[in-house]
């Protein structure tokens, strides 16, 4: 239940949200950024709906001692604004502006059986693996210097 069915059903709700919101459609996402052209402000309403529910929901949930299926709430603890955060986010935005897919929209788009989504997701996974290899070699070099 807590290992497979529950996360599957939550993923189903997430994917339905991406589909219903229109964010599964790269044309709609790219038009949000095209203020000077075929502007479609819908993405702002998606973020509005998602933030409203999450802002209120998290406040109720995080008052509880822990998650219903056990363990503890795993929340990021880092606070510092470092170079990887800013440079990485900048690179992500460039790729998002080129492709019109972000990770959360591209995964449900696989269920539409559109070849474009498969090309994007394959390239994105390659990018994650390349980044992981880069970080590993940077860490190894740093360890040698110390």
């Amino acid at each position: 239940m807590e290992r497979f069915l529950s996360p599957f059903l939550i993923g189903l709700i997430f994917g339905a949200g991406i589909a219903v919101s229109g964010m599964i459609n790269p044309a709609k996402v790219l038009n949000f950024f095209d203020v000077a052209g075929t502007w479609d402000p819908s993405l702002a309403f998606v973020m509005g709906g998602a933030l409203l529910v999450t802002f209120i929901g998290y406040r109720l949930v995080l008052k509880r001692p822990g998650p219903i299926f056990g363990g503890s709430f795993q929340l990021p603890t880092r606070k510092e604004i470092d170079r990887p955060l800013v440079v990485g986010s900048a690179i992500f935005g460039i790729g998002w502006g080129v492709a019109g897919f972000c990770p959360g929209a591209s995964i449900p788009a696989l269920g539409l059986f559109q070849p474009d989504a498969y090309v994007f997701v394959a390239a994105m996974i390659a990018g994650i693996l390349i980044a992981r290899a880069i970080r590993r070699s940077l860490d190894a070099r740093r360890a040698l210097q110390v």
Binding site: I13, F14, I18, A27, I68, V86, G93, P103, A123
Partner: protein, 140 residues
């Protein structure tokens, strides 16, 4: 052109938020797609089953919805450009520790300064990129 859909988009966004709240309430996890996906790539994290199940649910959603409704889909970007686009997204979310769902929804809802910074950054560079492609280089 795509049609402006404020109500439908707000409702879809609320579903995304509901998924984020349920994942925290039941499993104690942030609903960040970059993190969830990275954790199933080999060498996979030990907690890969919930991650793989969540992703399977996300893929299954439009398949089940297709029984009653199919969303609009069109990708203006030429297919070959999706390869550099995807590579940049993959590299960027890894070093930036998140994307539109993890930073944009979950992190901003927690008023995390890192997530607010990340969101402003990727929204800005995406906007500049689309402007350059469409209005300076006359591309897609």
């Amino acid at each position: 052109m795509t049609e402006f859909t404020p109500l439908q988009s707000f409702a879809g966004g609320a579903l995304i938020g509901l998924a984020a709240v349920l994942l925290m309430a039941l499993h104690g996890r942030i609903a960040g797609l970059s993190g969830i996906l990275t954790g199933i790539l080999p060498p996979a994290a030990s907690d890969w089953p919930w991650r793989a199940s969540f992703l399977a649910g996300a893929v299954a959603a439009p398949i089940l919805l297709a029984l009653v409704w199919t969303p609009d889909f069109s990708s203006p970007t030429p297919r070959v450009w999706l390869i550099p686009g995807g590579l940049l997204v993959g590299i960027g979310i890894f070093f930036g520790s998140g994307c539109t769902s993890g930073h944009g929804v979950c992190g901003n809802a927690r008023l995390s300064v890192r997530s607010i910074t990340a969101t402003l950054t990727f929204m800005a560079t995406a906007g500049i990129t689309v402007y350059l492609i469409r209005h300076v280089f006359g591309g897609f």
